[in-house]
Symmetry: D4
Subunit: 153 residues, 8 copies
Amino acid sequence: MTTGEKNRAALVGIVMGSDTDLPVMTEAGKTLEKFGIAYEMEVLSAHRTPARAHEYATSAASTTLPVIGVPMATCVLNGLDALLSTVQMPGGIPVATMAIDKPGAVNAAIFAAEILALGDEGIARKLVAHKEELARGVAEKNARLQKQLSEKK
Amino acid sequence: MTTGEKNRAALVGIVMGSDTDLPVMTEAGKTLEKFGIAYEMEVLSAHRTPARAHEYATSAASTTLPVIGVPMATCVLNGLDALLSTVQMPGGIPVATMAIDKPGAVNAAIFAAEILALGDEGIARKLVAHKEELARGVAEKNARLQKQLSEKK
Amino acid sequence: MTTGEKNRAALVGIVMGSDTDLPVMTEAGKTLEKFGIAYEMEVLSAHRTPARAHEYATSAASTTLPVIGVPMATCVLNGLDALLSTVQMPGGIPVATMAIDKPGAVNAAIFAAEILALGDEGIARKLVAHKEELARGVAEKNARLQKQLSEKK
Amino acid sequence: MTTGEKNRAALVGIVMGSDTDLPVMTEAGKTLEKFGIAYEMEVLSAHRTPARAHEYATSAASTTLPVIGVPMATCVLNGLDALLSTVQMPGGIPVATMAIDKPGAVNAAIFAAEILALGDEGIARKLVAHKEELARGVAEKNARLQKQLSEKK
Amino acid sequence: MTTGEKNRAALVGIVMGSDTDLPVMTEAGKTLEKFGIAYEMEVLSAHRTPARAHEYATSAASTTLPVIGVPMATCVLNGLDALLSTVQMPGGIPVATMAIDKPGAVNAAIFAAEILALGDEGIARKLVAHKEELARGVAEKNARLQKQLSEKK
Amino acid sequence: MTTGEKNRAALVGIVMGSDTDLPVMTEAGKTLEKFGIAYEMEVLSAHRTPARAHEYATSAASTTLPVIGVPMATCVLNGLDALLSTVQMPGGIPVATMAIDKPGAVNAAIFAAEILALGDEGIARKLVAHKEELARGVAEKNARLQKQLSEKK
Amino acid sequence: MTTGEKNRAALVGIVMGSDTDLPVMTEAGKTLEKFGIAYEMEVLSAHRTPARAHEYATSAASTTLPVIGVPMATCVLNGLDALLSTVQMPGGIPVATMAIDKPGAVNAAIFAAEILALGDEGIARKLVAHKEELARGVAEKNARLQKQLSEKK
Amino acid sequence: MTTGEKNRAALVGIVMGSDTDLPVMTEAGKTLEKFGIAYEMEVLSAHRTPARAHEYATSAASTTLPVIGVPMATCVLNGLDALLSTVQMPGGIPVATMAIDKPGAVNAAIFAAEILALGDEGIARKLVAHKEELARGVAEKNARLQKQLSEKK
């Protein structure tokens, strides 16, 4: 995932190595839509791999766009292989690694929004609203729990 | 590490949980200086921990500043504990995790520069120059290797 | 989970970062009820995380209440990430870490009871009774097994 | 490590499976001394093992004293084996597990103090003072860092 | 699992910490029956644990009977915790560790038979027969595979 | 390591895949000498490997001799690779796995002695004496510790 | 899996330690058929194991045929044990290790084809065609994704 | 590492992402020289990474040359990150992964020789001679060990 400049139509590019990653990365897309951030989404060539943030960072290395990586959980090693491939970049090629799978995909979108919010008041306001909404959701769940606990007595 | 807005004196804040992290995070500071990016650096309260990017993200959560995490290698578990604490954030609280220790500290600074370069042409130019310098360094090392190999024949 | 002083209504506070932890932490609540120990239970703000015992310990750090942590198993890394985040606290901020998931939630409650039993004879007696009951349960299972084995001959 | 009742001479018992653990567990002793807490310290029989908190909890199981475990780092597996042996107790036998090695030994002592402070105002006051001292130490280190940074300019 | 002397009724004792281990350890019992080896099987007290081979070895330590351990797979950490607890015994207290779960339970029984066969010709003959039977089973499966492959052509 | 029948000159065969294992396996030899157990020791062919207990068990599979495995710690993966290769045998081919490196080598010898003691009163007596000696050693270390602690007061 | 010389009927031998590996290794067979490469497939003796590439390499060690290993995922340790057993060969006995399970089985076949293609133009042409087909498949999936995205707008 | 066709001057290309890998990969070069196999060796661009076999395989993906990967041990995670990045390739892009570090570098060269030996009798003869030499070395070490053991008696 790379965050681009404002004057390009799509501000964020979501790149996948395989269409099996689509259900996870669609979460990133949905989250960007909440912030009104235009994005493009692509499945890259057959030769993309679990370490694809890695390679993408490399091929995009003459540019200076920030790259965010989301490790995909694999069946056999619980995503540890994808996580280590994505995060353990050598000095000089940063990939901003997020949590494994869906929580990581959502956070990648929020992180991209945080970057873009540095230069865009509208996105900043939507981010603040989103964080308040999350906090409200937890407060409501807690209120429901307190009610249940008091009814039990 | 958080990247701030341009109109503040320091554009990046480097936060450590203990002064034992200073030798590693100083690398981040030096890298930021190469790009001419002003930063502030602080050791936080006694109650900061290996999962401190985590907590810092939480306490800064009502703001919308991007947070970048650098896991510190610990003696006993080779940094795996710090890496997992930093990267496995829940949906809603992204911490852009870098590689463990010095390579991660350097990359955190480059990543912060990439973010700031989106809105600052000068930083963007310095980043491109830095990447070209890295590439030149490798080309020179390769040339030296080819010379050694041909002399051996 | 923190164990409080006797003169407060609730002697134990159970704190969760998300209501998805409720099925596991309810086991802690049920176990405390067996010992007649009053408790309160809360879902904290949206910004609480897998390393939440960690953060809670930090925010409660100016008090001297003991903090007990229960790592929650996550799908992707089998709970290893939560375990390491919870247990690997730096010197100065102890979190008494229990086993992952339900066995840990039950043990957190028993451990809280063991602490409170130091100053409360009634809880101490109930704890001894509980341990005797567990032992009796195993003895009965063993007796059943011996019967099966002898019938098979 | 078990925390006993106030009317016994030693309030905390430190138990080791081998005298090779002595350099680590001496840190727990020193920390208890800061809080004025009397303790006893013993190397148990030849048959104690890396999972010794485990066994000790078992043999002390008819009592209701809280047991705190400190995993010792081993050369070959970086302490992961000791950590998992100590923390993964079954439901019914809690061992309050601390971080691996010295940070864990120090925290075990602080945690024992936190338990005893519930019933002893003097220990509670010393704990608060200790936490303030830690915070002051960090503040001083930070002040020194700010001085260095400003001198560099 | 301990292998006893010939003049006792049961030559092998199978000890479990919980009746949830019964489905796995019953495989050990069945295998011993194939070799005509008498055994006893017991669920021990409530305070037995994942590291129970460990503790059993310790409590039986004044005897010189060989102890064989079978790590049980746990949901959360895939049995790695049980394996490390069982195998990483300190010098002086050997526990002959087998593979995790059912393959380990079967092998524990075969290993006990191998020990007893050193002093019992009848068991030795049955062991040889068992190994020949296993080899025959594989040869038959291979023959079936060759038939399938040739029919496909 | 295999334990043979009594009527052979060497009762135990110690087999290594490389002479780099000699410093570790010499500990097994020394321990066997304490029990007066004759052994032979061999470095096998160039094609033996970290998983060599594995292969040795396989090649010796038509016999019924018990096989004991000692995983050797490797630099890169702390011995986890050797441990998993040795212990995770399929059903039908038990290898009694000991702890990694020297503690495992010593325990392999004690375990072999425990097996041979089933049919040899002399070895049984020496084993009991050895265990008593270990216990005495710990008791002496503990006495020394108590002296130090009381002098400190 | 070994790749043989051209003048033998079967150019590749697929060897399994158990018929439970058949569903995975059949994928290797199917892939070889795509390239028109004749192969033989066998379940070896009862004494083959998770580390079987290991052993096979050893027993075939006086030949100079390349050996390719496919680690099989096991339930309990997610295939990490099989991976480490297969890949961590000592100097002198290479086993070309592929990814765990089906992706590894497919890749083992492609890799065997790549080796044979060095001396066989026909296989080389089929490999190129296969890689083009994979790339076309991805391009089609991407086109479908672009269509979905544009329809959504 | 890729093995090329016979009619090119260099039959094997050794590619590194950094000159810090040179001490390890020089072992591969030396081994190839033993077999009289010409090779070229290069440090690639600044943007190559721990997962570089991965990327190299990808960029060379339109060719059909076999690719062999040698994971480099890193300080912080003992080479587990490099191993998983190298071996866990997706279906379609095989990288023949060798052991971590020097043993892997030597084996990569032997494996390349095994591939080339399929079409070159001279290399095949040198490989057989090399394997005999290794076996002789072990036999000599074993003879020396037997001499030491007999002198000790």
